[in-house]
């Protein structure tokens, strides 16, 4: 009789421990595993923009393109135009976010121009073939990079080469009215200070001032004139 009770107690104890262990293991697996069940922050490089976001039928709401008749060429052309616009926006973002870097690149470019002038003849004579090889290699490397990293280049038309292009284009001061995405603003090299003028928040980075505003459904930072009193 006593043996029977002992057996039941042992069985209960075993069940409780077993259930506890299984539960612990599952919790651990959820946290450690593929990320399911755990909080993961959104990939901000993935664009949420586009005409379909408007859910509108009127072309004036989403910006129509020319007729579909020669669809291939039209699509390629409009896609290219879109890329150019995106690149231009990125260039503006970059120079607004990194005014110091833009200046550095400008100086470096001037130095490089001097060097290039001196060595131009050498270039012509000896380096043409090397540059050709370099170009081919770079192109192949880039293609391989894309093949290997398809999921890491969602963001519009972002390419390695573009990192170099932005500072070169960043010569002039940032135009008033230029908009920066929140991620571009947050990645600025300076630490923006906030002041309130007539109840409106102004964000200062170097000599550039920004207001927050809605653009196509998203919050952006727009370059504005210096607020009164500053």
């Amino acid at each position: 009789m006593r043996t029977g009770k002992k057996f039941i107690v042992k069985l209960l104890l075993f069940t409780v421990i077993f259930v506890f262990l299984v539960g612990t293991l599952e919790t651990y697996a959820r946290g450690k595993g593929s990320g399911r069940g755990s909080h993961r922050s959104a990939n901000r490089n993935i664009s949420r923009q586009g005409p379909a976001r408007t859910g509108s039928m009127k072309s004036s709401d989403f910006g129509s393109h020319s007729s579909r008749s020669s669809s291939r060429n039209v699509q390629r052309s409009s896609s290219h135009t879109g890329s150019q616009a995106q690149r231009k926006q990125k260039a503006q973002d970059y120079k607004a976010a990194n005014p110091d870097k833009a200046k550095d690149f400008q100086d470096k470019r001037a130095d490089n121009a001097g060097d290039i002038q001196e060595n131009r003849q050498d270039w012509k004579d000896t380096n043409r073939e090397d540059w050709q090889d370099y170009g081919d290699k770079a192109r192949n490397d880039r293609q391989e990079f894309y093949d290997d990293n398809e999921y890491y280049r969602y963001d519009d038309d972002w390419e390695w080469g573009d990192n170099v292009e932005y500072p070169v284009g960043a010569m002039a001061a940032v135009a008033v009215g230029t908009a920066l995405t929140v991620s571009a603003f947050n990645s600025m090299t300076c630490n923006p200070t906030t002041v309130y003028v007539n109840g409106v928040a102004y964000y200062q980075c170097g000599s550039t001032w920004y207001n927050q505003a809605y653009q196509q459904g998203d919050v952006v930072y727009v370059v504005v004139d210096t607020p009164p009193g500053y």
Binding site: R48, G82, Y146, A213
Partner: protein, 272 residues
């Protein structure tokens, strides 16, 4: 005899080519021939009836499970979406609550005098005066302010005139059941979009599903919405259309308005 047979054959051929052949709608590799009959009058009538039913409704609410494609730089389309609740009291009150799949919340309110738009999670809102009716407010919000308001056109009372003007082809596809409701599946084409709509075949001509193809945009992205919970006697109090910013919510501008203000200030500064 031979001459008679040949003459009859030739005559038949001429009659066929001149009178019979052109009467048939023709396609060449999917391209529609311009002269073919293009709009099925009954389908067009069904669509207009459905839209006018909404524009004549004094007040109503519905929910849309909506999604759209966003084209990425690598050519892949990524889907985003959310649940959209719309409440309308004609002639001048609209409230739109959108909860995206990532949990973020956006609110649009038009109270007949001002338009409010808010990102609850970012704790910001913008407002702009716009006295008038729903049509004027939606047109101003989507066209002048360039802000998205999915399905905004559906609640505009002038949308039926727009479809009559813009649709150049379309007709009946089939009958299909959407959310348990038997619907007429119709498809239409305009210069810039193609769209499909599923309208309840019995009872009120309610739209149960809408798909829009942005065929001229790169990647030809789609907007899709399942419409449900239609209610034409909604319990809507005036407070539903009153926007009260949360404590510490920051007021910001609409970028087009801000740029206009900057230009005006620059002009006035230049005159001095």
């Amino acid at each position: 005899m031979k001459k008679t047979v040949l003459g009859m054959l030739l005559g038949s051929l001429i009659v066929f080519v001149v009178f019979v052949f052109p009467a048939y709608p023709q396609t060449e590799e999917g391209v529609e021939v311009k002269d073919a009959p293009r709009i099925d009058p009954e389908s067009m009538s069904d669509l207009v009836e459905s839209l006018e039913f909404l524009s004549k409704a004094g007040s109503f609410s519905f929910t849309a499970e909506q999604e759209y494609d966003a084209l990425q730089g690598n050519g892949q389309k990524i889907e985003f979406g959310g649940v959209h609740k719309l409440a309308v009291v004609r002639p001048d009150k609209v409230r739109s609550d959108i909860v995206s799949r990532d949990g973020s919340k956006k609110l649009f309110v038009f109270d007949g005098k001002d338009i409010y738009y808010s990102d609850i999670d970012d704790n910001v809102y913008a407002s702009v005066p716009r006295p008038g009716d729903i049509n004027q407010a939606i047109d101003y919000f989507t066209e002048d302010l360039q802000m998205p308001l999915p399905l905004g056109q559906l609640i505009s009372s002038d949308v039926s005139e727009w479809v009559k003007k813009e649709i150049y082809a379309g007709g009946f596809v089939d009958q299909a059941t959407i959310n348990g409701v038997l619907c007429d599946h119709l498809a239409f084409r305009t210069e810039n979009i193609d769209f499909q709509v599923w309208i309840a075949a019995e009872g009120d001509p309610l739209q149960m599903r809408l798909v829009i193809d942005y065929k001229n945009a790169p990647g030809e992205p789609q907007f899709r919405a399942m419409l449900k919970d239609w209610n034409f006697k909604p319990e809507v109090s005036d407070s539903l259309f009153v926007f009260k910013p949360a404590e510490n919510m920051q007021k910001i501008a609409f970028a087009p308005v801000l740029r206009t203000e900057i230009k005006t200030e620059e002009k006035e500064g230049g005159k001095k």
